[in-house]
Symmetry: C2
Subunit: 476 residues, 2 copies
């Protein structure tokens, strides 16, 4: 253990109390919000600057030790588990909003700034940052996982809202992927290469994001439907008519039941869509009328509006809390969640077939979806002690992913690959596509130290890591 | 010349008349719309399918011979010149629109389909494809160069509007970069890696693009200003107020003069902005009123509307013809054009400083700009026989690029790097950024056969190519 001791000593020398090998700290950094088991790193560095991150990566590179960035730990496909041991870099201390520039509609933040923190800092500027995955994730983590969420149908994903970023490469070099111009055709698109790379190509330390003007007016609406199919079609037909909905969230009967219990609503326990509209007063009136007509034509009932800020806030808080609310329907259960995304013309069919497949499941489940994007999520509330339930949920998930891929969809709309969907990546992109990804990974991280084992699975770089006397610890 | 003869024989065997080594054909494929000299390839393959492209790339790879994709030849930074000889693949025969899917708001096209061709095919669907660089470029070329244009302020660039694409890699393998879901967080973003890579990482053969609903109403407006500064500020202030302009095009006095002469207008020869608004009748009324108020507050005069389709069409045709129209101001001249893009808060300052620098130039010049993006273009009308004029224009261009970079801008907003801006790429991204790009290039094209010498300049792969008995021909 001499070399590993040396690495830990180096980190302790540099960081003092900001380097920890305490079991509780390691455990906390070895799991995210998914059902995947805790696999703790060997130690955790609490970074406060890009230089801290660069120092840590350089030290780990010298010692051929894995490096795993950690934001808020809210990812859900097993992104942060230390599959091969190594050092977790906790980014939460890099939480400064470096600049808000109303004239350019952008802001530059450190990677550990969270979504709600930025929200607070923007109050009074007339601007907001739209990407909203539900959890109060860090912006660095959201960039790294290519997050999106409820407002993506109108404002896009992280891919659309990151202007440029600063990252530490596997060599410890710091790269800046661009300036602040709204567009550029200068060279390869390094920003998009890093967004969604899940810490396997670099550690994101700062990012410049787009801000949007707070709309003049906002309104929410809720509509209940006799069946999932009509609920989905209401959104799809609205979008095809050109209504620029800002949010369009599907909740199945189970999700509505959970929201009623958790958030004190009394909605009919039937498939329901929460809509939101942004624009001028006139736009909103027109768009609400168009969507209401579409909904009524599809048998939608109980079309109600929430125009007051507090009513809208309550509605979206209920949507954000849907994951714990659903788990509470089966006390003691753990969640196995997955998502797929398909072309919107296939969405109703994909959701219906998935629901039909799940009808025979022995485990409770629910479906919610960002249906305007063609994206939906399944949640199984599984008994954490039952291998059989885990296997059953995984089999249902596998069939859902294959169904989505057969419809020209993707194996994950917004959760990412992590350790949970590695097998599906090859089914989606084929050998050629995965070959390109592996070539890029090998070129940028030849030692395989950056979040090894994620996205692309085991690389032929294991021998490099095997030389690390930090060893391979899997506390599964 | 045995090996090269063998390659040519192979290509002739496979393609017959669709392989040409005629001087006129080679010359046509050795230049774009820029001032860069003609450098013809050794031969041209007229591809009709992805398989044709894959066959050609495989053959060239075996013979270590460069491959240069060619669309419409409308690029303007020297993208298609055969710096190291080799085979040009003419994509114009791959001109089938493979699918238009109104329900999904997308279309799949072969790479040789041009912008105006797609426009025609979409008539009657209620949908349009917004990216409009002016020239009737191929969509494959527009993707390869990361094109944008007049409507980008509202609808985004090619990066924002390509859903996924099919490309032939340096190995001859065919890769598909995704399905048709509107979003995905599955693995590295291969679509964005190829968009803007200028044929140096793969040859794009098919692409799926986003379509947008034709707005209910459209209106254009023209406003003249006493000075460039106020003209720029009218757009920037309008955007900062949240007016979603669909187009906002600056013409300086020289450009207005050219438009008057070429297109029969009689606008005052003073800095002018052409606006366009898309939306409902109500939106347009509101947005026009807001912009008119901003313009009048800045001293704008002669604010006139063009609401009829034919008047709008005439206006935008004049804008699209501005490049030849300006060259016609100095008969016999050639154009040296460049573009930069800066944060919009710095745009007025950047344009003013650039204009001041050019005031002393001995060559006629003009400025136009997609000012809503922070992007503007300079055009020098140079004597094609004068080395001194070329040098003077290049020095002015160099100062403009450095000015933009100092303002956190980019050395090219939409023209790309080609052979014209290689030196500035390093100034923009630094050694670390260019190092990442070079590592990616070396990983995906280890033989250096894909459009060699572009974007990143000479690679350390020259010896691989030197072994090609096609040799290095530079007919500069």
């Amino acid at each position: 253990m001499t070399v590993a001791t040396t690495l830990h000593d180096e980190l302790r020398d540099r960081f003092g109390d900001r380097f920890s090998t305490a079991a509780a700290v390691r455990d906390h950094h070895g799991k995210d919000d998914s059902h995947h088991p805790t696999i703790p790193p060997d130690g955790v560095v609490f970074a406060q600057s890009t230089e801290d991150v660069a120092y840590t990566v350089q030290a780990c590179a010298r010692h051929r030790t894995p490096v795993i960035p950690f934001g808020a730990g809210t990812s859900i496909e097993g992104h942060v588990q230390a599959l091969h041991g190594g050092i977790s870099i906790d980014m939460s201390g890099m939480n400064r909003v470096l600049a808000v520039r109303p004239d350019d509609l952008d802001a530059t933040v450190e990677a550990g700034v969270t979504r709600l923190q930025l929200d607070r800092e923007l109050r009074g500027t007339g601007l907001f940052f739209p990407v909203d995955p539900g959890a109060d994730a860090t912006l660095g983590g959201m960039a790294a996982t290519g997050a999106s969420g409820t407002t993506t149908v109108r404002y896009g994903t992280m891919r659309d809202n990151v202007v440029s970023l600063t990252a530490v490469l596997a060599s410890g070099e710091v790269v800046r992927t661009g300036g602040r111009a709204r567009k550029s055709s200068a060279g390869y698109d390094l920003t998009h290469l890093l967004v969604g790379s899940e810490g396997t190509l670099g550690v994101i330390t700062e990012l410049t994001v787009r801000l949007h003007p707070v709309p003049e007016a906002m309104a929410a609406a809720v509509c209940a439907f006799p069946d999932l199919d009509e609920a989905v079609r209401s959104v799809v037909e609205g979008i095809q008519l050109g209504v620029p909905v800002a949010r369009a969230e599907l909740l199945d009967a189970t999700a509505v039941k959970a929201a009623n219990l958790h958030s004190g609503f009394d909605y009919a326990e039937t498939p329901t869509v929460f809509f939101e509209f942004h624009g001028s007063e006139g736009d909103i009136k027109a768009h609400c009328a168009m969507i209401e007509e579409v909904c009524r034509g599809l048998g939608g009932t109980a079309f109600t509006y929430a125009r007051r800020q507090e009513d809208r806030a309550r509605l979206w808080k209920a949507r954000h809390d849907i994951y714990p609310a659903m788990l509470a329907l089966r006390p003691g259960s753990h969640g196995l969640t997955s998502d797929v995304c398909v072309p919107i013309s296939r969405l109703a069919e994909c959701i219906a077939a998935t629901r039909d497949d799940m009808m025979s499941a022995s485990i409770p489940w629910g479906i919610v979806g960002h249906v305007g994007d063609g994206n939906f999520h399944t949640l199984f509330m599984i008994d954490p002690h039952s291998e059989a339930e885990l296997a059953e949920a995984e089999a249902l998930n596998e069939r859902m992913v294959r169904r989505a891929l057969a419809m020209e969809g993707t194996c994950t709309g917004e959760h990412g690959i992590g350790m949970g969907k590695i097998g599906f990546l090859r089914e989606e992109y084929g050998d050629a596509g995965v070959g390109v990804m592996r070539a890029v990974k090998a070129a940028l991280d030849p030692g395989g130290i950056l979040n090894p084992g994620k996205v692309l699975g085991p690389m032929d770089l294991a021998d490099a890591r095997a030389k690390s006397s930090a060893g391979v610890r899997q506390s599964r």
